[in-house]
Amino acid sequence: MVAVISGDEVTRSVGGHAIWVRITHWILAASVLTLAFTGVVILMAHPRLYWGNAGNDLTPALLELPISRNYKHGGWTPETTFYAGATPVVSAVRTYDIFNENGWARSLHFLAAWFLCITGLIYLVTGLVSGHLWRDLTPRLGDLAPRALWRDFVHHLRLPLPRAPGGPPYGRLQKISYAGVVFVALPLMVLTGLTMAPAVAAACPWLLDLFGGSQSARTLHFFAFAVLFVFLIVHLAMVLLTGVRRQLRAMTFGD
């Protein structure tokens, strides 16, 4: 979301985006788009989500996504039993040639993740030191008043939206969504991603406890992606509706 100035905010000075915000924004944008694309390709290899420590084709899924020919494929030999019981432990041999492009998709995903983590760290440190995170992104108590939030929400639905300058100060809905992405969604993505890595889970088993197992982390990773995807759509819509040339110029050249 991009600034839609209303009420008292009109009178405040408009500074545009700082150079470090512009640079990190575009590196992070490229990283996130690459992560989203490769993430979907990776998910297509096994479009089943689970809750808990482990899950596979022979255990019940929480959710199955019809996003590749691997969706509910029936290519398994009859099951053989390891342990009988209420929930029998079985094995079966896969006879189906699955869709799997994870060789390049995983490596590209992690390459983009390195760019995201390093750039994100630089962004957070600079944002903390410069005061940008607290001054411009952190919602104040007054910003969270339901009545004010509702008024801003309705205001955003009214077309055409007024053209807005790029950069802070941000409206209360902007603050809440940017803060949600910076402080909640992206850190959650990084932590749930790391939880899935066997070497990281061995070194930091508290991650497994925090998210309730590596398959739970994978499921949370997917839902955090879905939330970020919705953010991206609304963000792009607001850029388009408030003067796309001006917004792109502000985020690229700073004026």
């Binding site: 089943r48 420590n53 053989t80 029998p88 094995s91 992690f110 066997p198 070497a199």
Partner: protein, 258 residues
Amino acid sequence: MSKSKLAVVSRRNIITGLASTGGLLLAGCTSKELPPTYGNVLRMGDLLTYRAFRMLLPAHSLAREYTHSDITSSPAIGTTNPADPHQPAFNAEHGPIYDRIRAAGFADWRLKVEGRVARPRSFSLAELRALPSRTQITKHTCEEGWSAISSWTGVPLRAVLEACGILPSARFANFFAYDDIAEGIDMIDALHPQTILAYGMNGRDLTTGHGAPLRLRVETQLGYKSVKFLDRIVVKDEFDDLGKIGSLQNGWAWYVGI
């Protein structure tokens, strides 16, 4: 574990070509103790992951071990029968040999340990079972996205290598199987207490689908490093990409602790 090897080759070549200019990014990584990047930007990212993990993470943290009631069902994928000529990684020379030794109950099977060890030798299944054993209930994490918890019983790789005398210059252990799959790990993972050569799964002998008679378990990396149907271990001083049967030349990362 499952690697659609042939399908990725052409794409890999395209990416390699596009990324060749990026080769300067990680200059100085031509050391023979590190996996090569071939000027491919994806392999540079893999190398960064490997170096960062080795620098930041303790070498021998134990992967979580679970209880018997946590054991889940477990699919068998990839090569599930090295003697089946219709499987993608079938080896025309070793497949029929596997068929013969399996028919004899693996009585003639032997694990060869070669390369940079003081006393190269081979082990029968009985000799491996006579070494100190370890049983661990651990999670197999497949690169595809699924996982399974099983109980694995075997001999620590460290005990087998030490029985052969690891030379001080040794840096990598490479594993060759009865199918066209080979994988390597560094000595940090090779000497990890949970890295075992497993002959038992869930309290019984390994089935063919899960890698009989012996498979590697590397609990700190993804499932495809845990090579099934073991034939030979070769200890090396220098990195070996294992050619056409290794992961790298098929477009897959060599280090997959991630």
